[in-house]
Assembly symmetry: C2
Homo-oligomer: 207 residues x 2
DNA sequence: CTATTTATGGAACGATATGTCAATAACTAA
DNA sequence: TTAGTTATTGACATATCGTTCCATAAATAG
């Protein structure tokens, strides 16, 4: 679909709205209100297009949300995740990941919280595909974090006694906790406090 | 209301269902499905009473949910919170709080996650009163945890350099992260891993 | 030009949501 | 018994949900 967007066949009547801008708008509405609480009427109004045009362009609500999840992941989760894959030192990798996550969560230009974390709690009531996509995102994050610890341990930056799985679960849990607090509290310093304080749990190299 | 429940005026036709049992059932349904996703028809079916009886007994959906929140707080948040107020040693208090929270979150007899944490993410779409009640619950928890650190610092179990506010925010964030992970993952050991690992962030007494 | 294809606009669909009504039943007080 | 009060019952009102239909508009292909 993204590949097709480059070519311009332009057969039939051309669209009068920008699909990319519409997706961006839809993402913000879903992000702020949640999947269930967002109605197609909300989206129609926010994007300022006709109802049928929205369906013609994106299929239905579920398909649109899956596109939005994909867009969110590409636009916002890439930068924090890059810290985990590109920074060699594990401690610096995790710390940078947490700080970038905190920056994202406290960005006042964006809706509160993390779209994926927000979606976790309404998973059972939403569609099965959405549940799986969200769960896969969280599981993927844990795997990436685990990999950081495992590599660090293999290369000697972490002690052999360190529990890589527990550490990965912990830092993913911290990130989720930050996302939840960001949703309930407007205080930016609270999010950074959590990120910074969690680094004190870094395992010593005594073992 | 709870006081009135003891007296038995019994004027007019007596109720044919147990109000307390109905509230318990409603709590479980809300807990499992969330506020928005739970319909009054779901509750009517689960409690097995007539629709109008439900409205006559509890008012409307919002009022019922507020009662459910109150019930949840009394029934489940008391035990973890008691660790914070009753255990003198701050480290043992926090650790016990986290472990009791982990036990609660992984209790297979109960719905997944924490009702309050679950409600945080759908707050904006729910009623204003529900949002305030949930936010007040989280803020109250942070205050209680903060008090533990402040007392510990005053009495010398914590160094003067410890940032009590940041520590309180961190451990509340950890608890919220645990609640979110408990919702997405069925693995009980993940929750306890987070609780245990977070205790490694306990401040040293060097300062 | 005509035929074809795609987008738009507005109305409408069926399903389901919360909340209510009027009739009836079951109790107490006098 | 009679009056007053409250609970139950099933149907119903009203609104809104996601989704679709159809006539029309605007483009290309031949």
């Amino acid at each position: 679909m993204t590949i097709m967007a480059i070519s311009l066949p332009a057969r039939g009547r051309p669209r009068e709205f920008d699909v990319d801008a519409a997706l961006e708008t839809a993402m913000r509405v879903f992000w702020r209100q949640g999947y269930e609480a967002t109605t197609m009427s909300d989206l129609v109004e926010a994007i300022a297009i006709n109802r049928a045009s929205l369906y013609a362009a994106f299929g239905n609500k579920e398909a649109l949300f899956l596109l939005v999840l994909d867009r969110y992941q590409q636009a916002f989760s890439e930068r924090p995740m890059a810290a985990l894959t590109e920074i060699a030192d594990p401690r610096e990798a995790i710390e940078t990941f947490l700080l970038r996550t905190a920056e994202h969560l406290t960005d006042e230009r964006l809706p509160r919280g993390c779209l994926f974390s927000n979606s976790i709690l309404e998973s059972p009531s939403g569609s099965e595909r959405i549940s799986r996509t969200v769960a896969k995102g969280v599981a993927g994050l844990e795997d990436t974090v685990y990999h950081v610890f495992q590599c660090g341990q293999r290369e000697g930056q972490l002690g052999q006694g360190a529990d890589c799985r527990a550490l990965a679960r912990f830092y993913v849990g911290v990130a989720q906790g930050m996302a939840l607090i960001a949703k309930v509290s407007a205080d930016q310093s609270a999010i950074f406090d959590i990120a910074r304080t969690s680094m004190a749990a870094w395992p010593s190299r005594t073992i």
